[in-house]
Symmetry: C2
Subunit: 346 residues, 2 copies
């Protein structure tokens, strides 16, 4: 009896030591989402700017059709995405890639799948001008914003001391200020990292598998991703269905051979909410996506059990979704360029 | 001096009597927007139902594309409309008529420009199924809602005692419950009706002109409209640009000759926020719209001064816009029908 007790005690001490080692390793690799918006180095925030940014984020009049807002493809009610294979924009045109989530995007090293925008400010200027997205342009946007007195006032308040506050860049700065608030703290994983939650067996096994198999090589930090570019199919190229040959990813930005088919590793925060997966948006099932990553990136054929564990772990990355009051937008005036839903021939 | 004073006193008493008569007449013709949502006879409300209705109102997964929600064409940030000539829906198809505002729509005698839906419940079932709007159907909608456990739970809570709570009709009932809350009290005009605000000269002249010229024959009640059908061009038909010949309005519902080109008089609440005007959405300028109404409906060519007065009056019909928290929508599941952005050949 004594012997049995001693053995059990030893075993349970071993389990505890093992648990502590896993937590310690996880704490080295990952960081929790902070409770409040991070400061932006080149874009000091203020409440007026955040509110203005929110209004702009939801205002479809930034598009030439007056139908498409930032929120159309980055729906704050749907994990910050559109849940579509690839975005659909002006004239129902299909965009080339899956819309990344705006949630926690502030923690990414750069924006877009290919990192062509260095921050959210640069990012915000892209879709407004893209012919297949909002199909507007800086001149039209500034004319629109200047024509609406309430917006002009809000720009002046948000960018004090600037003689011409209503600019395309300041529009992007305001949107960036708001987007920096779109973070999802308090996931179960973050509580675990803080020593305030205990994982279930399968969640812990998933975390361990995630770290042991090397997923965390590309998916670490606050966002479990978003910190580097990696060739999709570093070990084994997935089929053309998942990795279309005509989209060379980061290569189109850098023209460097080693960047062919490289993409920014996406954040895995709230990943269960944001299918379909990959830049092609071709995979709806999270377990299948995990399996593809295993073979393509790690050369490790994950067993069903392992894939299931990893999915269980990924599900604890879902945090509190942002709660925002839907903005009442200021009325346009006779000076505002009117909506234009026509689709120019391509 | 005494005489002058007496004259002034008499004159000012006369003005006051005149003011009192105007107010009294206005109080007979118009009613204020109440402070809280009106009760619905056949759809008893409860907080769960209103919250569910809000979620459904904002959920683009009621459309087959997952891109279009009720809020797309009835944007609560933009006076409850899309500010477009006519709606643009699935596949970027243009709808036949201008989207009426959802704000205060609960006070209309019927819904749609031709009144083909008797209430908001019936109305809500239309766009979901319309090929040029959300392009879905009841079976797909119910399958979608049943596949999302959080929605199924909310339907059960919202419709207690029903064995099969997730139905297309209950979807419409929940949306109606929410839409009944989308009212805009506290306009300056309502404060005036309550004896709590004084109109400026031009506003009062506008109100008087509005009543004297007969505008209030079709635009009275809580909504200053929405209570009857009237041939557009009862006196003089406007041009085909404003009144397209192929849209016979209420006639297509009743097949009654006298209903040819008859439309429900729209509410004038918040009218300054909801251009372009008329079922055709062809007129962006409120003063021009007032002028067209004068000649088409009243046979009264309004002077510039009169039109300006009426516009000044119409601008005090803007009330408090609804403030809503943007809903975080529940995740879909593997059973949910996936988005389909394809556009069937017509």
């Amino acid at each position: 009896m004594k012997l049995l007790c001693a053995t059990l005690l030893l075993a349970s001490t071993a389990v505890l030591a093992d648990d502590a080692a896993t937590l310690k390793k996880a704490q080295r690799l990952f960081k929790p989402v902070p409770a409040s918006a991070p400061a932006l180095k080149t874009n000091p925030t203020n409440p007026d700017k955040v509110e203005l940014g929110k209004m702009l984020f939801f205002d479809p009049r930034l598009s030439s059709s007056w139908l498409i807002s930032c929120n159309t493809c980055h729906n704050l009610g749907l994990g910050g995405v559109d849940l579509l294979e690839t975005a659909v924009g002006h004239g129902w045109q299909k965009g080339p890639r899956n819309s990344p989530t705006v949630l926690n995007a502030v923690f990414n090293m750069a924006q877009f799948w290919d990192g062509r925008a260095k921050d959210l400010r640069e990012q915000a200027m892209g879709p407004v001008q893209a012919a297949v997205e909002m199909a507007s342009n800086p001149a039209r946007t500034v004319k629109t914003l200047k024509s609406i007195p309430d917006y002009a006032n809000r720009f002046r308040k948000s960018f004090p001391g600037e003689s011409d506050a209503v600019t395309f860049e300041n529009m992007a700065r305001a949107i960036e200020s708001f987007e920096a608030t779109l973070i999802t703290p308090n996931s179960k994983f973050d509580a675990y990292l803080a020593g305030k939650a205990v994982l279930t067996d399968i969640e812990k096994e998933g975390l361990e598998t995630f770290m042991e198999k090397g997923c965390s090589n590309c998916h670490a930090g606050v966002n479990l991703g978003g910190q580097g570019y990696y060739p999709f199919g570093v070990v084994q190229k997935p089929g053309a269905e998942v990795l279309p040959v005509n989209d060379k990813g980061r290569f189109d930005v850098t023209r460097t051979a080693t960047d062919e088919y490289a993409f920014k590793s996406p954040s895995l925060r709230n990943i269960e909410l944001t299918p379909p997966y990959f830049h092609s948006g071709k995979v709806w099932d999270l377990r299948q996506a995990v399996g593809i990553m295993g073979s393509a990136q790690l050369g490790a054929l994950l067993t069903d059990t392992e894939a299931g564990q990893i999915v269980a772990f990924l599900r604890i990355l879902t945090g509190d979704q942002p709660r925002v009051t839907y903005p009442v937008l200021p009325a346009h005036t006779p000076e505002t360029p009117l909506p234009d839903v026509r689709v120019p021939p391509r």
